[in-house]
Protein backbone atom coordinates (compact mmCIF):
# COMPACT_ATOMS: atom_id res chain seq x y z
CA UNK A 1 0.00 0.00 0.00
CA UNK A 2 2.91 2.36 0.70
CA UNK A 3 4.06 1.94 -2.87
CA UNK A 4 0.62 2.84 -4.12
CA UNK A 5 0.46 5.96 -1.96
CA UNK A 6 3.87 7.09 -3.20
CA UNK A 7 2.71 6.64 -6.79
CA UNK A 8 -0.45 8.53 -6.02
CA UNK A 9 1.55 11.54 -4.85
CA UNK A 10 3.76 11.37 -7.93
CA UNK A 11 0.67 11.35 -10.07
CA UNK A 12 0.04 14.95 -9.09
CA UNK A 13 3.61 16.05 -9.63
CA UNK A 14 4.61 14.11 -12.79
CA UNK A 15 1.44 12.65 -14.28
CA UNK A 16 3.13 11.54 -17.55
CA UNK A 17 5.77 9.49 -15.79
CA UNK A 18 3.70 8.22 -12.89
CA UNK A 19 0.48 7.18 -14.61
CA UNK A 20 1.73 4.03 -16.44
CA UNK A 21 3.40 2.90 -13.20
CA UNK A 22 0.18 3.65 -11.35
CA UNK A 23 -1.83 1.44 -13.72
CA UNK A 24 0.68 -1.37 -13.39
CA UNK A 25 0.49 -1.10 -9.62
CA UNK A 26 -3.30 -1.38 -9.72
CA UNK A 27 -2.99 -4.58 -11.73
CA UNK A 28 -0.43 -5.97 -9.30
CA UNK A 29 -2.73 -5.18 -6.34
CA UNK A 30 -5.64 -6.84 -8.13
CA UNK A 31 -3.61 -10.05 -8.44
CA UNK A 32 -2.07 -10.10 -5.02
CA UNK A 33 -4.73 -8.53 -2.76
CA UNK A 34 -7.91 -9.07 -4.74
CA UNK A 35 -10.17 -7.10 -7.03
CA UNK A 36 -11.75 -5.13 -4.20
CA UNK A 37 -8.38 -3.76 -3.03
CA UNK A 38 -7.58 -2.61 -6.57
CA UNK A 39 -11.00 -1.01 -6.93
CA UNK A 40 -10.51 0.79 -3.61
CA UNK A 41 -7.21 2.21 -4.86
CA UNK A 42 -8.97 3.67 -7.88
CA UNK A 43 -11.65 5.19 -5.65
CA UNK A 44 -9.02 6.84 -3.50
CA UNK A 45 -7.13 8.09 -6.55
CA UNK A 46 -10.26 9.81 -7.85
CA UNK A 47 -10.74 11.69 -4.58
CA UNK A 48 -7.03 12.45 -4.26
CA UNK A 49 -6.95 13.94 -7.76
CA UNK A 50 -10.16 15.90 -7.12
CA UNK A 51 -11.93 14.11 -9.96
CA UNK A 52 -15.12 13.79 -7.95
CA UNK A 53 -16.71 14.31 -4.51
CA UNK A 54 -16.12 11.50 -2.00
CA UNK A 55 -18.93 8.97 -1.86
CA UNK A 56 -20.51 7.85 1.40
CA UNK A 57 -22.97 4.99 1.80
CA UNK A 58 -24.96 4.55 4.98
CA UNK A 59 -26.77 1.31 5.81
CA UNK A 60 -29.36 0.36 8.40
CA UNK A 61 -31.52 -2.75 8.17
CA UNK A 62 -34.22 -0.83 10.05
CA UNK A 63 -34.34 2.45 8.09
CA UNK A 64 -37.96 1.64 7.22
CA UNK A 65 -38.89 1.95 10.92
CA UNK A 66 -39.01 5.10 13.02
CA UNK A 67 -36.42 4.89 15.78
CA UNK A 68 -33.74 6.67 17.79
CA UNK A 69 -30.83 4.79 16.21
CA UNK A 70 -32.12 5.55 12.72
CA UNK A 71 -32.52 9.22 13.65
CA UNK A 72 -28.87 9.19 14.72
CA UNK A 73 -27.66 7.82 11.39
CA UNK A 74 -29.81 10.11 9.29
CA UNK A 75 -28.85 13.17 11.35
CA UNK A 76 -25.24 12.18 10.74
CA UNK A 77 -25.65 12.27 6.95
CA UNK A 78 -27.79 15.38 7.16
CA UNK A 79 -24.74 17.13 8.61
CA UNK A 80 -22.49 15.78 5.85
CA UNK A 81 -24.69 16.40 2.80
CA UNK A 82 -22.50 19.17 1.38
CA UNK A 83 -19.25 17.28 1.70
CA UNK A 84 -20.24 13.90 0.26
CA UNK A 85 -22.32 12.22 -2.39
CA UNK A 86 -24.50 10.20 -0.07
CA UNK A 87 -26.47 7.02 -0.66
CA UNK A 88 -28.91 5.66 1.93
CA UNK A 89 -29.00 1.87 1.74
CA UNK A 90 -32.15 0.21 2.99
CA UNK A 91 -33.54 -3.33 2.75
CA UNK A 92 -37.18 -2.26 2.54
CA UNK A 93 -39.04 0.49 0.71
CA UNK A 94 -38.64 3.89 2.35
CA UNK A 95 -38.70 7.44 0.96
CA UNK A 96 -37.39 10.94 1.59
CA UNK A 97 -40.86 11.98 2.72
CA UNK A 98 -40.76 9.34 5.48
CA UNK A 99 -37.56 10.85 6.84
CA UNK A 100 -39.04 14.31 6.64
CA UNK A 101 -42.18 13.23 8.41
CA UNK A 102 -40.50 11.08 11.08
CA UNK A 103 -37.43 13.17 11.91
CA UNK A 104 -37.98 16.53 10.20
CA UNK A 105 -34.84 15.90 8.11
CA UNK A 106 -34.56 17.06 4.51
CA UNK A 107 -32.38 14.44 2.84
CA UNK A 108 -33.50 15.15 -0.71
CA UNK A 109 -29.86 15.44 -1.86
CA UNK A 110 -29.20 11.85 -0.85
CA UNK A 111 -29.96 8.91 -3.09
CA UNK A 112 -31.95 6.01 -1.62
CA UNK A 113 -30.98 2.53 -2.72
CA UNK A 114 -33.15 -0.44 -1.81
CA UNK A 115 -31.35 -3.77 -1.69
CA UNK A 116 -33.77 -6.55 -0.87
CA UNK A 117 -32.34 -9.60 0.85
CA UNK A 118 -33.85 -12.82 -0.56
CA UNK A 119 -33.46 -14.67 2.79
CA UNK A 120 -35.74 -12.16 4.58
CA UNK A 121 -38.00 -11.56 1.59
CA UNK A 122 -38.96 -15.25 1.67
CA UNK A 123 -39.89 -14.88 5.32
CA UNK A 124 -42.17 -11.99 4.36
CA UNK A 125 -41.59 -10.14 7.60
CA UNK A 126 -40.97 -6.43 8.02
CA UNK A 127 -38.48 -7.00 10.81
CA UNK A 128 -35.03 -8.24 9.74
CA UNK A 129 -33.44 -9.98 12.69
CA UNK A 130 -29.73 -10.76 12.23
CA UNK A 131 -29.80 -12.85 15.44
CA UNK A 132 -31.81 -15.58 13.73
CA UNK A 133 -29.03 -16.44 11.26
CA UNK A 134 -27.28 -19.67 12.23
CA UNK A 135 -23.86 -20.97 11.33
CA UNK A 136 -25.29 -23.45 8.84
CA UNK A 137 -26.93 -20.75 6.75
CA UNK A 138 -25.33 -18.44 4.23
CA UNK A 139 -24.87 -14.88 5.46
CA UNK A 140 -27.80 -13.00 3.88
CA UNK A 141 -26.04 -9.67 4.41
CA UNK A 142 -23.26 -10.46 1.91
CA UNK A 143 -25.19 -8.34 -0.62
CA UNK A 144 -24.74 -5.32 1.62
CA UNK A 145 -21.06 -6.17 2.06
CA UNK A 146 -20.66 -6.16 -1.71
CA UNK A 147 -22.45 -2.81 -1.94
CA UNK A 148 -20.18 -1.35 0.77
CA UNK A 149 -17.24 -1.72 -1.61
CA UNK A 150 -18.65 0.93 -3.96
CA UNK A 151 -18.05 3.83 -1.57
CA UNK A 152 -15.11 5.74 -0.18
CA UNK A 153 -16.71 5.63 3.24
CA UNK A 154 -19.25 3.04 4.32
CA UNK A 155 -21.21 3.69 7.50
CA UNK A 156 -23.04 0.79 9.11
CA UNK A 157 -25.62 2.38 11.40
CA UNK A 158 -27.46 -0.80 12.30
CA UNK A 159 -27.05 -3.08 15.27
CA UNK A 160 -25.80 -5.67 12.84
CA UNK A 161 -22.19 -6.79 12.86
CA UNK A 162 -22.77 -9.29 10.04
CA UNK A 163 -21.90 -6.83 7.28
CA UNK A 164 -18.26 -7.29 6.27
CA UNK A 165 -17.04 -3.84 5.15
CA UNK A 166 -15.18 -3.62 1.85
CA UNK A 167 -14.71 0.14 1.54
CA UNK A 168 -11.48 2.03 2.17
CA UNK A 169 -12.91 3.65 5.28
CA UNK A 170 -15.63 1.90 7.23
CA UNK A 171 -17.46 3.22 10.27
CA UNK A 172 -19.58 1.07 12.53
CA UNK A 173 -21.98 3.22 14.52
CA UNK A 174 -22.52 1.10 17.59
CA UNK A 175 -25.68 1.94 19.51
CA UNK A 176 -25.10 -1.10 21.72
CA UNK A 177 -23.26 -4.41 21.28
CA UNK A 178 -26.30 -6.68 21.54
CA UNK A 179 -24.70 -9.97 20.48
CA UNK A 180 -21.44 -11.59 21.44
CA UNK A 181 -18.93 -12.42 18.70
CA UNK A 182 -20.13 -15.54 16.92
CA UNK A 183 -21.20 -16.50 13.39
CA UNK A 184 -20.40 -13.80 10.82
CA UNK A 185 -19.08 -11.31 13.35
CA UNK A 186 -17.18 -8.51 11.59
CA UNK A 187 -17.27 -5.52 13.97
CA UNK A 188 -13.49 -5.74 14.32
CA UNK A 189 -13.07 -5.38 10.55
CA UNK A 190 -14.31 -1.77 10.54
CA UNK A 191 -11.63 0.90 10.45
CA UNK A 192 -13.56 3.01 12.99
CA UNK A 193 -16.18 2.37 15.66
CA UNK A 194 -18.31 5.27 16.74
CA UNK A 195 -20.32 4.95 19.96
CA UNK A 196 -23.26 6.86 21.38
CA UNK A 197 -22.44 6.78 25.10
CA UNK A 198 -19.78 5.76 27.59
CA UNK A 199 -22.09 2.96 28.68
CA UNK A 200 -22.04 1.53 25.16
CA UNK A 201 -18.25 1.91 25.01
CA UNK A 202 -17.91 -0.01 28.27
CA UNK A 203 -19.90 -2.93 26.85
CA UNK A 204 -18.07 -2.86 23.50
CA UNK A 205 -14.93 -3.53 25.52
CA UNK A 206 -16.54 -6.18 27.69
CA UNK A 207 -18.44 -8.08 24.99
CA UNK A 208 -16.25 -7.59 21.93
CA UNK A 209 -12.87 -6.85 23.48
CA UNK A 210 -12.59 -3.81 21.20
CA UNK A 211 -11.82 -0.18 22.01
CA UNK A 212 -14.15 2.17 20.13
CA UNK A 213 -12.56 5.15 18.41
CA UNK A 214 -14.99 8.04 18.63
CA UNK A 215 -17.71 9.11 21.03
CA UNK A 216 -20.60 11.20 19.73
CA UNK A 217 -23.76 11.62 21.82
CA UNK A 218 -27.03 11.47 19.83
CA UNK A 219 -28.63 14.75 18.75
CA UNK A 220 -31.62 15.81 20.79
CA UNK A 221 -33.80 18.61 19.50
CA UNK A 222 -36.89 19.11 21.60
CA UNK A 223 -36.09 22.67 22.67
CA UNK A 224 -39.19 24.65 23.61
CA UNK A 225 -40.42 27.50 21.43
CA UNK A 226 -40.26 31.12 22.48
CA UNK A 227 -43.69 31.07 24.04
CA UNK A 228 -43.43 29.76 27.59
CA UNK A 229 -46.16 27.48 28.83
CA UNK A 230 -47.40 27.33 32.38
CA UNK A 231 -46.14 24.23 34.19
CA UNK A 232 -48.83 21.87 35.44
CA UNK A 233 -48.73 19.20 38.12
CA UNK A 234 -47.96 16.56 35.54
CA UNK A 235 -45.53 13.67 35.49
CA UNK A 236 -44.62 12.55 32.01
CA UNK A 237 -43.05 9.34 30.76
CA UNK A 238 -41.97 9.05 27.15
CA UNK A 239 -40.92 5.62 25.93
CA UNK A 240 -41.99 3.03 23.41
CA UNK A 241 -44.52 0.53 24.70
CA UNK A 242 -42.33 -2.55 24.20
CA UNK A 243 -44.17 -5.88 24.13
CA UNK A 244 -41.69 -7.26 26.71
CA UNK A 245 -42.34 -4.30 29.01
CA UNK A 246 -38.67 -3.39 29.21
CA UNK A 247 -39.48 0.31 29.51
CA UNK A 248 -41.21 -0.49 32.81
CA UNK A 249 -44.38 1.58 32.33
CA UNK A 250 -46.34 -0.89 34.50
CA UNK A 251 -43.96 -0.40 37.44
CA UNK A 252 -44.23 3.38 37.11
CA UNK A 253 -48.04 3.14 37.11
CA UNK A 254 -47.91 1.03 40.27
CA UNK A 255 -45.71 3.63 41.96
CA UNK A 256 -48.06 6.43 40.96
CA UNK A 257 -51.06 4.52 42.29
CA UNK A 258 -49.22 3.90 45.55
CA UNK A 259 -48.49 7.61 45.83
CA UNK A 260 -52.14 8.43 45.15
CA UNK A 261 -53.38 5.90 47.72
CA UNK A 262 -50.89 6.61 50.50
CA UNK A 263 -50.54 10.38 50.09
CA UNK A 264 -53.93 11.50 48.71
CA UNK A 265 -53.60 15.12 49.85
CA UNK A 266 -50.13 15.75 48.46
CA UNK A 267 -50.88 14.05 45.16
CA UNK A 268 -54.41 15.35 44.75
CA UNK A 269 -53.85 17.45 41.63
CA UNK A 270 -51.05 15.39 40.11
CA UNK A 271 -51.54 13.53 36.83
CA UNK A 272 -49.38 10.87 35.18
CA UNK A 273 -49.21 10.83 31.38
CA UNK A 274 -47.52 7.93 29.62
CA UNK A 275 -46.55 8.74 26.05
CA UNK A 276 -45.10 6.31 23.52
CA UNK A 277 -45.34 4.57 20.22
CA UNK A 278 -46.83 1.13 19.78
CA UNK A 279 -48.31 -1.32 17.31
CA UNK A 280 -52.05 -1.76 17.47
CA UNK A 281 -51.84 -5.33 18.75
CA UNK A 282 -49.68 -5.01 21.82
CA UNK A 283 -50.61 -7.20 24.80
CA UNK A 284 -48.45 -5.13 27.16
CA UNK A 285 -50.32 -1.96 26.17
CA UNK A 286 -53.62 -3.78 26.71
CA UNK A 287 -52.53 -4.62 30.25
CA UNK A 288 -51.67 -0.98 30.91
CA UNK A 289 -55.07 0.10 29.55
CA UNK A 290 -56.71 -2.31 31.95
CA UNK A 291 -54.91 -0.72 34.92
CA UNK A 292 -56.03 2.72 33.76
CA UNK A 293 -59.63 1.52 33.39
CA UNK A 294 -59.56 -0.03 36.85
CA UNK A 295 -58.45 3.29 38.38
CA UNK A 296 -60.57 5.96 36.66
CA UNK A 297 -60.19 8.52 39.47
CA UNK A 298 -56.39 8.36 39.66
CA UNK A 299 -55.57 10.68 36.76
CA UNK A 300 -53.45 8.33 34.64
CA UNK A 301 -53.51 8.84 30.88
CA UNK A 302 -52.07 6.74 28.09
CA UNK A 303 -51.08 8.66 24.97
CA UNK A 304 -50.18 6.31 22.15
CA UNK A 305 -48.67 7.38 18.81
CA UNK A 306 -49.38 11.07 19.32
CA UNK A 307 -48.17 13.72 16.83
CA UNK A 308 -44.92 15.57 17.50
CA UNK A 309 -46.66 18.89 18.25
CA UNK A 310 -48.71 17.31 21.03
CA UNK A 311 -45.60 15.72 22.50
CA UNK A 312 -43.85 19.09 22.47
CA UNK A 313 -46.62 20.79 24.40
CA UNK A 314 -46.78 17.89 26.86
CA UNK A 315 -43.08 18.32 27.58
CA UNK A 316 -43.56 22.03 28.07
CA UNK A 317 -46.40 21.73 30.54
CA UNK A 318 -44.94 18.82 32.58
CA UNK A 319 -43.04 19.19 35.84
CA UNK A 320 -41.52 15.74 36.37
CA UNK A 321 -40.19 13.08 34.00
CA UNK A 322 -40.14 9.43 35.05
CA UNK A 323 -38.10 6.72 33.36
CA UNK A 324 -37.50 3.32 34.89
CA UNK A 325 -36.11 1.42 31.89
CA UNK A 326 -33.46 -0.91 33.33
CA UNK A 327 -35.22 -1.73 36.59
CA UNK A 328 -34.84 -5.46 37.40
CA UNK A 329 -32.98 -6.03 34.15
CA UNK A 330 -31.51 -9.40 33.23
CA UNK A 331 -29.19 -8.12 30.53
CA UNK A 332 -27.21 -4.88 29.98
CA UNK A 333 -29.07 -4.33 26.71
CA UNK A 334 -32.28 -3.85 28.71
CA UNK A 335 -30.93 -0.68 30.31
CA UNK A 336 -31.18 2.59 28.39
CA UNK A 337 -28.02 2.84 26.25
CA UNK A 338 -28.33 6.60 26.23
CA UNK A 339 -31.79 7.97 27.06
CA UNK A 340 -32.83 10.56 24.49
CA UNK A 341 -36.24 11.19 26.02
CA UNK A 342 -34.67 12.15 29.34
CA UNK A 343 -32.69 14.85 27.52
CA UNK A 344 -35.83 15.97 25.67
CA UNK A 345 -37.54 16.44 29.02
CA UNK A 346 -34.55 18.32 30.45
CA UNK A 347 -34.54 20.67 27.47
CA UNK A 348 -38.06 21.64 28.61
CA UNK A 349 -37.09 22.14 32.27
CA UNK A 350 -38.83 18.94 33.30
CA UNK A 351 -37.07 17.42 36.32
CA UNK A 352 -35.95 13.87 35.52
CA UNK A 353 -36.31 11.06 38.05
CA UNK A 354 -34.75 8.14 36.23
CA UNK A 355 -33.30 4.67 36.72
CA UNK A 356 -29.76 4.72 38.05
CA UNK A 357 -27.96 2.82 35.30
CA UNK A 358 -26.75 2.80 31.71
CA UNK A 359 -26.51 5.98 29.68
CA UNK A 360 -28.87 7.80 32.04
CA UNK A 361 -25.96 8.15 34.49
CA UNK A 362 -24.21 10.33 31.92
CA UNK A 363 -27.24 12.58 31.57
CA UNK A 364 -28.70 13.02 35.06
CA UNK A 365 -26.49 14.12 37.96
CA UNK A 366 -28.17 12.96 41.15
CA UNK A 367 -29.39 15.87 43.26
CA UNK A 368 -28.05 18.48 40.81
CA UNK A 369 -30.33 18.33 37.79
CA UNK A 370 -32.64 15.47 38.76
CA UNK A 371 -32.62 12.22 40.69
CA UNK A 372 -31.43 8.71 39.88
CA UNK A 373 -33.27 5.85 41.56
CA UNK A 374 -32.65 2.13 41.92
CA UNK A 375 -36.14 1.01 42.94
CA UNK A 376 -39.83 1.89 42.86
CA UNK A 377 -39.53 2.88 46.52
CA UNK A 378 -36.84 5.43 45.72
CA UNK A 379 -38.90 6.77 42.83
CA UNK A 380 -41.77 7.27 45.24
CA UNK A 381 -39.54 8.90 47.86
CA UNK A 382 -37.87 11.46 45.58
CA UNK A 383 -41.09 12.27 43.76
CA UNK A 384 -42.79 12.95 47.06
CA UNK A 385 -39.94 15.28 47.97
CA UNK A 386 -40.39 17.14 44.69
CA UNK A 387 -44.19 17.36 45.08
CA UNK A 388 -43.65 19.23 48.33
CA UNK A 389 -40.76 21.51 47.37
CA UNK A 390 -41.42 23.99 44.56
CA UNK A 391 -38.03 25.66 44.98
CA UNK A 392 -36.22 22.35 44.53
CA UNK A 393 -38.23 21.69 41.35
CA UNK A 394 -37.30 25.12 40.02
CA UNK A 395 -33.58 24.70 40.78
CA UNK A 396 -33.30 21.19 39.38
CA UNK A 397 -35.33 22.15 36.29
CA UNK A 398 -33.03 25.07 35.50
CA UNK A 399 -29.93 22.92 35.98
CA UNK A 400 -31.47 20.19 33.83
CA UNK A 401 -31.99 22.62 30.99
CA UNK A 402 -28.36 23.76 31.26
CA UNK A 403 -27.06 20.18 31.20
CA UNK A 404 -29.24 19.29 28.21
CA UNK A 405 -27.30 21.74 26.03
CA UNK A 406 -24.44 19.22 25.93
CA UNK A 407 -26.61 16.96 23.80
CA UNK A 408 -27.96 19.49 21.29
CA UNK A 409 -28.06 18.96 17.53
CA UNK A 410 -25.47 21.72 17.14
CA UNK A 411 -23.00 19.87 19.40
CA UNK A 412 -23.71 16.63 17.54
CA UNK A 413 -23.02 18.22 14.17
CA UNK A 414 -19.80 19.82 15.43
CA UNK A 415 -18.52 16.43 16.63
CA UNK A 416 -19.58 14.65 13.44
CA UNK A 417 -17.90 17.28 11.24
CA UNK A 418 -14.69 17.09 13.24
CA UNK A 419 -14.61 13.27 13.01
CA UNK A 420 -15.37 13.00 9.29
CA UNK A 421 -13.05 15.88 8.41
CA UNK A 422 -10.26 13.94 10.09
CA UNK A 423 -11.15 10.81 8.13
CA UNK A 424 -11.40 12.67 4.87
CA UNK A 425 -8.19 14.62 5.23
CA UNK A 426 -6.10 11.49 5.77
CA UNK A 427 -7.91 9.83 2.85
CA UNK A 428 -7.74 12.63 0.30
CA UNK A 429 -4.21 13.74 1.14
CA UNK A 430 -2.37 10.78 2.69
CA UNK A 431 1.09 11.41 4.17
Amino acid sequence: MERFLALLKNLKIQPHVAFPKFLAEIKRISHSEGIQAAYNCLLQAEVFLNLRKPKLGIYDHAFHFIGGAQKYGLSLISALQDQFDITIISNKEVSHSHFMHWYNLDLSHCEIKIIKLPYFEQKNGLHLDPACISKDEENPFYLISKESGNYDIFVNNSMNEMVYPLSNISVLVCHFPERRPKTYFYADQYTHILHNSQYTAEWIKKKWDLTPHEHVYPPVDMEPGRQKMQKKKTIISVARFEVEGTKRQKEMMETFLKLKNEYPKVTEEWAFKLVGGSDTKNPYLQRLKKIVDQNPDKNIQLKVNIPLEELKSLYQESTLFWHLCGLTHTDPSEIEHFGMTAVEAMQNMVVPVVYDGGGLREIVDHGINGFRVKSKAELLHYSLELFQDKKLVQNLGENAQKKSQEFSRLKFEERIHAFFNRLLSSYSSPD
Binding site: L42, S333, S375
Partner: protein, 177 residues
Protein backbone atom coordinates in the same frame (compact mmCIF):
# COMPACT_ATOMS: atom_id res chain seq x y z
CA UNK B 1 -3.50 14.76 -19.28
CA UNK B 2 -6.02 15.09 -16.46
CA UNK B 3 -8.81 14.11 -18.82
CA UNK B 4 -6.85 11.09 -19.99
CA UNK B 5 -6.21 10.00 -16.42
CA UNK B 6 -9.88 10.43 -15.61
CA UNK B 7 -10.90 8.40 -18.64
CA UNK B 8 -8.42 5.62 -17.90
CA UNK B 9 -9.41 5.40 -14.25
CA UNK B 10 -13.10 5.30 -15.16
CA UNK B 11 -12.47 2.58 -17.71
CA UNK B 12 -10.45 0.49 -15.30
CA UNK B 13 -13.03 1.00 -12.57
CA UNK B 14 -15.78 -0.22 -14.88
CA UNK B 15 -13.83 -3.37 -15.69
CA UNK B 16 -13.09 -4.10 -12.07
CA UNK B 17 -16.67 -3.36 -11.08
CA UNK B 18 -17.92 -5.86 -13.63
CA UNK B 19 -15.56 -8.51 -12.28
CA UNK B 20 -16.58 -7.63 -8.74
CA UNK B 21 -20.23 -8.17 -9.54
CA UNK B 22 -19.51 -11.61 -10.96
CA UNK B 23 -17.88 -12.78 -7.74
CA UNK B 24 -20.31 -13.99 -5.11
CA UNK B 25 -17.85 -15.13 -2.48
CA UNK B 26 -16.45 -12.31 -0.36
CA UNK B 27 -13.35 -14.35 0.44
CA UNK B 28 -12.46 -14.40 -3.23
CA UNK B 29 -13.06 -10.69 -3.51
CA UNK B 30 -10.60 -9.84 -0.75
CA UNK B 31 -8.36 -12.89 -1.22
CA UNK B 32 -8.38 -13.89 2.43
CA UNK B 33 -10.36 -15.89 4.96
CA UNK B 34 -12.97 -13.73 6.66
CA UNK B 35 -14.78 -16.15 8.99
CA UNK B 36 -13.42 -17.18 12.36
CA UNK B 37 -14.44 -19.14 15.41
CA UNK B 38 -15.16 -17.21 18.60
CA UNK B 39 -14.88 -19.09 21.86
CA UNK B 40 -17.29 -17.78 24.48
CA UNK B 41 -17.01 -17.93 28.24
CA UNK B 42 -20.36 -18.67 29.87
CA UNK B 43 -19.14 -17.03 33.08
CA UNK B 44 -19.42 -13.61 31.42
CA UNK B 45 -22.96 -14.20 30.19
CA UNK B 46 -25.93 -12.25 31.54
CA UNK B 47 -29.03 -13.98 32.90
CA UNK B 48 -30.85 -13.33 29.63
CA UNK B 49 -28.00 -14.73 27.57
CA UNK B 50 -27.75 -17.81 29.77
CA UNK B 51 -31.51 -18.27 29.41
CA UNK B 52 -31.39 -18.29 25.62
CA UNK B 53 -28.31 -20.52 25.71
CA UNK B 54 -30.27 -23.01 27.84
CA UNK B 55 -33.22 -22.89 25.43
CA UNK B 56 -30.83 -23.58 22.56
CA UNK B 57 -29.31 -26.59 24.38
CA UNK B 58 -32.73 -27.98 25.29
CA UNK B 59 -33.89 -27.79 21.68
CA UNK B 60 -30.67 -29.55 20.55
CA UNK B 61 -31.21 -32.27 23.17
CA UNK B 62 -34.81 -32.66 22.03
CA UNK B 63 -33.65 -33.17 18.47
CA UNK B 64 -31.29 -35.99 19.46
CA UNK B 65 -33.50 -37.69 22.02
CA UNK B 66 -34.08 -40.78 19.87
CA UNK B 67 -30.85 -42.77 19.34
CA UNK B 68 -32.49 -45.44 17.13
CA UNK B 69 -30.98 -45.12 13.64
CA UNK B 70 -33.40 -45.00 10.74
CA UNK B 71 -32.84 -46.38 7.27
CA UNK B 72 -32.16 -43.03 5.66
CA UNK B 73 -29.25 -42.33 7.99
CA UNK B 74 -27.19 -44.90 6.09
CA UNK B 75 -25.69 -43.16 3.06
CA UNK B 76 -22.48 -43.30 1.08
CA UNK B 77 -19.94 -41.02 -0.55
CA UNK B 78 -18.27 -43.81 -2.54
CA UNK B 79 -19.13 -43.79 -6.22
CA UNK B 80 -18.67 -47.40 -7.26
CA UNK B 81 -18.96 -49.66 -4.26
CA UNK B 82 -21.30 -47.29 -2.42
CA UNK B 83 -24.59 -48.89 -3.42
CA UNK B 84 -23.77 -52.48 -2.37
CA UNK B 85 -22.22 -51.21 0.90
CA UNK B 86 -25.40 -49.32 1.73
CA UNK B 87 -27.49 -52.35 0.81
CA UNK B 88 -25.46 -54.64 3.11
CA UNK B 89 -25.61 -52.13 5.97
CA UNK B 90 -29.39 -51.81 5.62
CA UNK B 91 -29.79 -55.60 5.65
CA UNK B 92 -27.67 -55.78 8.81
CA UNK B 93 -29.75 -53.05 10.37
CA UNK B 94 -32.91 -54.98 9.54
CA UNK B 95 -31.56 -58.19 11.08
CA UNK B 96 -30.22 -56.62 14.27
CA UNK B 97 -32.93 -53.93 14.37
CA UNK B 98 -35.18 -55.54 16.94
CA UNK B 99 -32.29 -56.17 19.38
CA UNK B 100 -30.88 -52.66 18.93
CA UNK B 101 -34.34 -51.14 19.45
CA UNK B 102 -34.72 -53.11 22.65
CA UNK B 103 -31.61 -51.51 24.12
CA UNK B 104 -32.03 -48.08 22.60
CA UNK B 105 -35.64 -47.73 23.71
CA UNK B 106 -34.35 -47.71 27.27
CA UNK B 107 -31.81 -45.09 26.32
CA UNK B 108 -34.55 -43.01 24.66
CA UNK B 109 -36.70 -43.18 27.78
CA UNK B 110 -33.69 -42.13 29.86
CA UNK B 111 -32.96 -39.21 27.50
CA UNK B 112 -36.57 -38.05 27.67
CA UNK B 113 -36.48 -38.11 31.46
CA UNK B 114 -33.22 -36.18 31.50
CA UNK B 115 -34.69 -33.46 29.29
CA UNK B 116 -37.82 -33.32 31.43
CA UNK B 117 -35.61 -32.96 34.50
CA UNK B 118 -33.64 -30.09 32.91
CA UNK B 119 -36.85 -28.33 31.98
CA UNK B 120 -38.15 -28.80 35.48
CA UNK B 121 -34.96 -27.33 36.94
CA UNK B 122 -35.19 -24.34 34.64
CA UNK B 123 -38.77 -23.65 35.74
CA UNK B 124 -37.69 -23.99 39.38
CA UNK B 125 -34.85 -21.59 38.83
CA UNK B 126 -37.17 -19.06 37.18
CA UNK B 127 -39.58 -19.25 40.11
CA UNK B 128 -36.76 -18.74 42.62
CA UNK B 129 -35.54 -15.83 40.55
CA UNK B 130 -38.98 -14.22 40.69
CA UNK B 131 -39.06 -14.70 44.46
CA UNK B 132 -35.62 -13.14 44.85
CA UNK B 133 -36.64 -10.16 42.70
CA UNK B 134 -39.72 -9.69 44.82
CA UNK B 135 -37.66 -9.86 48.01
CA UNK B 136 -35.12 -7.40 46.62
CA UNK B 137 -37.94 -5.00 45.88
CA UNK B 138 -39.28 -5.36 49.42
CA UNK B 139 -35.79 -4.80 50.86
CA UNK B 140 -35.45 -1.69 48.70
CA UNK B 141 -38.73 -0.35 50.06
CA UNK B 142 -37.67 -1.09 53.63
CA UNK B 143 -34.34 0.68 53.09
CA UNK B 144 -36.09 3.82 51.88
CA UNK B 145 -38.51 3.73 54.82
CA UNK B 146 -35.60 3.17 57.19
CA UNK B 147 -33.82 6.19 55.75
CA UNK B 148 -36.88 8.38 56.22
CA UNK B 149 -37.36 7.10 59.79
CA UNK B 150 -33.72 7.64 60.74
CA UNK B 151 -33.82 11.19 59.32
CA UNK B 152 -36.93 11.90 61.39
CA UNK B 153 -35.29 10.40 64.48
CA UNK B 154 -32.28 12.66 64.01
CA UNK B 155 -34.61 15.66 63.80
CA UNK B 156 -36.44 14.58 66.97
CA UNK B 157 -33.11 14.03 68.72
CA UNK B 158 -31.88 17.49 67.72
CA UNK B 159 -35.14 19.08 68.88
CA UNK B 160 -34.86 17.26 72.19
CA UNK B 161 -31.32 18.53 72.79
CA UNK B 162 -32.44 22.06 71.91
CA UNK B 163 -35.41 21.74 74.22
CA UNK B 164 -33.22 20.57 77.14
CA UNK B 165 -30.69 23.35 76.56
CA UNK B 166 -33.46 25.97 76.47
CA UNK B 167 -34.95 24.57 79.67
CA UNK B 168 -31.53 24.61 81.34
CA UNK B 169 -30.96 28.24 80.32
CA UNK B 170 -34.46 29.12 81.41
CA UNK B 171 -35.60 30.24 77.95
CA UNK B 172 -39.36 30.30 77.45
CA UNK B 173 -40.81 27.37 75.50
CA UNK B 174 -41.43 28.04 71.79
CA UNK B 175 -44.99 28.27 70.68
CA UNK B 176 -46.16 24.98 69.30
CA UNK B 177 -47.27 25.08 65.68
Amino acid sequence: MENNIKKEITKMKKELHKKKEEIRDLKELVKKEIDREFPSDLKDFSEKELGSQMDEYISLLNKSVDPVPDKTSITTHRRLIGKPVVWIKRIMLKITGSYITLILDKQKAFNQKCIALYQNLIIHQKKYHEKISHLEERIGECEVHLNVISKKLEEIDANLVQHRTDAYLGKPEKEKT
